[in-house]
């Protein structure tokens, strides 16, 4: 039995304005897997992630995280095991200092103060942001904000990390550091992104979404080798697989 399995069964979601965002998704993710969710804008990536953490409730179908089906009663357990890093770190960081922000989750878990402090410091050290502990989050650079946002989730010791566009707004070096950090995590990872080079480096499996449906669910290399599939999903090969732009100029 694995506690970290994610099982989505025939998931449908329609927004209150009648926009159907997801129309019958089914997949399973196993313990320790690193899975990318890719697709065009509006394909349903963020909506899908919102279901994994119980921010949205399925119109139809079921979501199962570990041993718990996602219901109102099981939300606390699910939110304890799934850590979500939001697309915009400014939405995630709201306390006056970095330390208090990272401590927000552990405090809500009801942990004693000493344990909270040690968790906060180890999470901040893990992302290389221990020196920022006394700083107000809004004064940090985008890269630092992202690191702190990740630390704020790591401090809750989640089994599953869910990330929405983790590399958006980062400079190339901060992006590289983030990729290195992500590859060093042993958590089950689900990453929704447009950064296909990140997928290439971090995720061994990729799910392609298109108009609220799963277009493909295969090993990453297979997906990125299928040009027809990529075109259909409004994607293109990662830059790392496109070859030298000078030697082989694009037509």
């Amino acid at each position: 039995m694995s506690h970290h399995i994610i099982e989505i069964n025939d998931l449908e979601y329609t927004y209150p304005d009648k926009t159907q965002a997801l129309s019958g998704l089914s997949f399973k993710i196993l313990h320790g897997e690193s899975v990318a969710i890719v697709g065009a804008n509006g394909a349903g990536k963020s909506t899908l992630l919102s279901h994994l953490i119980g921010i949205l409730v399925p119109t139809k179908g079921t979501v199962r995280i570990g041993d718990y089906p996602l219901t109102k009663q099981t939300l606390p357990q699910i939110r304890r095991s799934v850590g979500m890093v939001f697309q915009n770190p400014d939405d995630q960081l709201f306390m006056p200092t970095v330390f208090e922000d990272v401590a927000f989750g552990p405090l809500n878990l009801g942990l004693p103060l000493q344990e909270v402090e040690s968790r906060v410091m180890s999470a901040l050290e893990r992302v290389g942001a221990a020196h920022l502990r006394e700083r107000p989050p809004y004064k940090l650079s985008s890269g630092q904000k992202r690191s702190v946002a990740i630390a704020s989730v790591l401090s809750m010791l989640p089994d599953i990390l869910v990330m929405d566009e983790p590399t958006s707004g980062l400079d190339p070096q901060a992006r590289r550091q983030l990729i290195m950090l992500l590859t060093s995590f042993t958590h089950t990872k689900i990453i929704a992104t447009h950064d296909l080079d990140l997928v290439l480096d971090v995720c061994e499996r990729t799910i392609v979404l298109h108009n609220g449906l799963i277009l493909a669910d295969r090993p990453t290399m297979q997906i990125f080798s299928d040009t027809a599939l990529l075109t259909q999903a409004h994607l293109e090969k990662p830059l790392g697989m496109q070859g030298c732009p000078i030697c082989t100029p694009r037509s």
């Binding site: 709201f94 306390m95 006056p96 006394e134």
Partner: protein, 269 residues
């Protein structure tokens, strides 16, 4: 930088002051909050025409600003922002109350002018004290103190959320106004017709953003209860701080110290 942006930075500055570490910052939030409440009550309790008796009360904000290492400029800047509202309260006093009160040589000062000046002093004391409380305690510290003083949790959570929402609102407002000013070339400000849709947009956007923030809080186990880090118990220095100031305020209220000193100097005894 637009005026709005500078207000926003100003607001942030108050939070930054609260992170600072000083003797005053280390006093328990409960002690500081209660002291401020007693200070405000005493200031409000002075009679309508009291001026000289109020002066010793300035000792409190002055000492706190020095010990709390607070910059004078930003605090006074905020005090000035509130000034017009207070002046409106007393602006008609000189017209309504023309009973002669004081004569300095040929100059006759009516009771209205004295009460206006008294209102001004009280305002200065009250607003400075409140700002010092926020700048040395932080809104979360005040929230924690209120919880410890058994204020219903729902009010405290509302207060903390309102404070955070203010930031969200201001940030969105800055963005909206910037977008408007980039595409309006007359430089006449925002036309009244545009305000309607602009404010509507602002409301929807801030609600959206507030919902995302709330979602992020839920993801990290928020269940309606605010749990803050901070010292829970009052220690000796906190009680000394509270009692010391309270006794000082009461003495100042009961004894008109400037008058007493004056009498002492000119040999009234």
């Amino acid at each position: 930088m637009s005026k709005m942006e500078s207000y926003w930075l100003d607001l942030r500055q108050l939070d930054e002051m609260a992170i600072h570490k000083s003797v005053i910052h280390h006093i328990h939030p409960c002690a500081k909050l209660l002291t401020t409440v007693i200070f405000l009550t005493v200031v409000a309790s002075f009679s309508k025409y009291e001026v000289s008796g109020l002066f010793p009360m300035f000792f409190y904000p002055m000492l706190l600003m020095i010990l709390g290492e607070l910059p004078l400029g930003p605090i006074m800047h905020r005090v000035l922002l509130a000034l017009p509202f207070v002046m409106f309260i007393g602006i008609f006093n000189p017209l309504l109350d023309q009973i002669p009160f004081l004569q300095i040589g040929p100059l006759l000062i009516s009771g209205g002018w004295i009460s206006l000046f008294s209102i001004f002093l009280r305002f200065l004391l009250a607003v400075t004290a409140a700002l010092i409380l926020v700048a040395t305690t932080g809104i979360d510290g005040i929230g924690m103190a209120l919880l410890q003083l058994k204020v219903p949790r729902v009010f405290v959570v509302q207060l903390l959320f309102m404070y955070r929402y203010l930031y969200v609102l201001l940030e969105e407002l800055i963005r909206t106004i910037r977008a408007h000013s980039l595409r309006s070339f007359q430089g006449e400000g925002i036309k009244i017709g545009v305000w309607g849709s602009l404010l509507g947009q602002l409301l929807l956007r801030t609600i959206d953003r507030a919902q995302r923030i709330y979602g992020a809080m839920l993801c990290r186990g928020f269940d309606g209860e605010i749990r803050l880090i901070g010292r829970k118990k009052l220690v000796g220095i906190d009680i000394v701080y509270f009692l010391g100031w309270s006794i000082f305020f009461i003495v100042v209220r009961l004894v008109n110290i400037p008058q007493w000193l004056g009498t002492l100097l000119i040999g009234g005894y």
